[in-house]
């Protein structure tokens, strides 16, 4: 079925597994921060797949002494884009939480006092 070596298979399987785990986390949630983490895990899985694909030639063909630099460059670009998006998402989340806590402050105070009484 496949011509890949067992080492490559292992890593490819892991990459796909990470994609699956992240996907599950993204769908199930429930907190937004966790969904952002899940997106990052999906991203890590995809980048890992790309790293393995770049490593492919090195593992299988003795003639090649080089990993695929194009894929490596793509991953670097992708990493930067991913971290930018994550940073923006987290900034939005912070703002959302601030707005929420400004709303809930009276509530929370009441809640904090309850156990002591």
């Amino acid at each position: 079925m496949t011509d890949l070596s067992s080492q490559l298979l292992l890593y490819i399987g892991t990459a796909a597994g990470l994609f699956g785990i992240g996907l599950y986390g993204f769908i199930v949630g429930p907190q937004t921060l966790r969904r952002i983490l899940a997106l990052n895990i999906i991203g890590a899985g995809i980048f890992m797949l790309m790293v393995v694909l770049a490593y492919r030639g090195l593992a299988e063909e003795a003639a090649l002494t080089l990993t695929d630099p194009v894929l490596h460059a793509l991953i670097l670009t992708g990493l930067v884009v991913a971290v930018s998006a994550t940073a923006f998402a987290l900034a939005l989340l912070t703002r959302l939480n601030q707005a929420k806590s400004a709303q809930c402050k009276p509530d929370q105070l009441r809640h904090g006092q309850e156990p002591e009484q």
Binding site: F26, L49, A85
Partner: protein, 472 residues
């Protein structure tokens, strides 16, 4: 010429960030110069044929390739003109609507992202453009403050997820074929399992980003929460970017068996979007949500045309697809600007705000009605042209009664939600304050694209010819 179109918005953005005080001026200047350049590019393409550039002067495959065909240059022209128009509107109303200074550089970046996307023919470069577009769109939505943060965050997360799906598809394709250039890839394409899975993943991501049914859930909230000029840009242009890539993938890459398998699904999704989006637009109590749902419905037409094009390979459907995109962009910009102007002046978000608008704000209401006419597809508007091409194509195929009936039903639905607003507007107006003086300039600006979409009918022949041969 392509270089100018890419460099100008980029430099414009940078200078705006350095000197925020003159940002509006720079934005308008950039948009107008870009419009001229886009017009020239269109002439150039129609005279000399497609312009292809391999960036940085490296051999094909290694370098990123850009290509300007007549469709891309038409879309670039549309982008630049709408930017100019919306920029003028935003400039005219930014004091009243408290539009932050952040709008100008962001809108300029939006232009850069869109132009880069229309030109790019490289899978990974398209990914970067998509991300740029997605983040700009979210940043623009979040301009309207606290109430927009939640929809913006939701939009961002889904959009990121969509791009990651697309990226996974790109990774699989690169793993299988070792190239990213779409033309090179098309030559080596084999309809095997990896390529099918990759195509499906990319389609999933792009459908999510383009808010195509059934993945449209984020759109109404996000577009309704944004400030009026931003909603106009988002609805008119941003959702078309992923749609463009989707068409690029299925029309240029996919093999015959893959196309045959997926075409009915596309058409079905398009139809469902038309009907369900129309019903939602009819039922929502908020004015901007109505316009946003109508975007979902109208994107259904494009999807339907794509599905039919893939199935029958009839050039009329290609023309219909892109005519829908053009007509919808103009009409929706007019709708959002008009509704935004009316709700901002009369105060209130519900559709009831429109009550009596035909007397208090006749110009804006006229703009809405005219644009609505194109959404319905009344002759001789751009929407009518598109629908006519679609119907004609179906007629030529013969025996497609089901689709014909469905389109008629969808037309009735869109007529219903447009007339719902218009009828309210002809109701008797609530008494207004004696010093009530709606501003004229923004209303005229909302009317302009509405008139332009009717003027499209004047150029129906060349447009049809151009888009029919293009296909993509």
């Amino acid at each position: 010429m392509m270089v100018v179109l890419l460099v100008l918005p980029l430099l414009g953005t940078l200078f705006m960030l350095l000197w925020p005080k003159i940002a509006p001026l720079l934005a308008l200047l950039t948009a107008s110069v870009c419009s001229l350049a886009a017009l020239q590019l269109l002439f150039l393409v129609s005279e000399q044929g497609n312009q292809q550039v391999l960036l940085a002067g490296w051999p094909s495959g290694l370098a990123i390739s850009l290509e300007a065909n007549s469709l891309s240059s038409l879309l670039i022209l549309l982008t630049a003109l709408l930017q100019l128009l919306v920029g003028l509107y935003a400039f005219a109303t930014h004091r009243r609507d408290k539009l932050g200074a952040g709008f100008w550089p962001l809108s300029c970046m939006l232009q850069l992202g869109l132009t880069a996307l229309w030109l790019s023919r490289d899978l990974f470069n398209l990914y970067v453009c998509l991300e740029l577009l997605g983040i700009v769109a979210v940043a623009l939505v979040s301009l309207s403050g606290d109430k927009a943060i939640k929809p913006a965050l939701n939009y961002l997360l889904l959009s990121l997820f969509g791009s990651l799906c697309y990226l996974l598809g790109v990774a699989i394709l690169y793993g299988a074929y070792g190239v990213l250039d779409i033309t090179v890839l098309a030559a080596r394409w084999q309809a095997d399992l990896p390529s099918s899975i990759a195509l499906l993943l990319m389609t999933l991501g792009l459908m999510l980003k383009a808010a195509l049914w059934p993945l449209h859930g984020w759109l109404p909230a996000a577009h309704a929460a944004a400030p009026a000029p931003v909603s106009a840009l988002l609805s008119a242009l941003v959702v078309k970017g992923p749609l463009f890539i989707l068409c690029l993938l299925w029309l240029q890459l996919a093999g015959a068996t893959q196309v045959a398998a997926v075409a009915p699904w596309f058409a079905g999704c398009g139809l469902a979007a038309l009907l369900l989006g129309g019903v939602s637009a009819l039922r929502t109590p908020f004015a901007k949500n109505m316009v946003a749902y109508s975007t979902v419905a109208q994107l259904g037409y494009a999807m339907l045309a794509l599905g039919l094009l893939l199935r029958f390979n009839q050039p009329l459907f290609a023309a219909a697809l892109w005519l829908f995109v053009l007509a919808h962009a103009l009409a929706k910009a007019a709708c959002f600007l008009a509704i935004g102007e009316i709700t901002a002046t009369l105060g209130g978000k519900r559709i009831n705000t429109l009550k009596g608008a035909s007397q208090t704000m006749p110009l804006a209401m006229f703009a809405f009605a005219v644009a609505g006419g194109s959404l319905i597809g009344l002759p001789p508007s751009g929407g009518f042209l598109a629908k006519w091409a679609l119907l004609q194509g179906l007629w030529l195929q013969g025996g497609q009664l089901f689709w014909l009936l469905a389109i008629v039903l969808a037309t009735l639905l869109s007529a219903a939600y447009v007339f719902r607003a218009v009828v309210l507007a002809f109701d008797r107006a609530d008494p207004v304050a004696p010093d009530f003086a709606p501003r004229i300039l923004p209303q005229w600006l909302a009317l302009l694209p509405a008139l332009a979409v009717w003027a499209m009918a004047l150029y129906s022949e060349p447009l049809l010819q151009l888009l029919k041969q293009e296909g993509l």
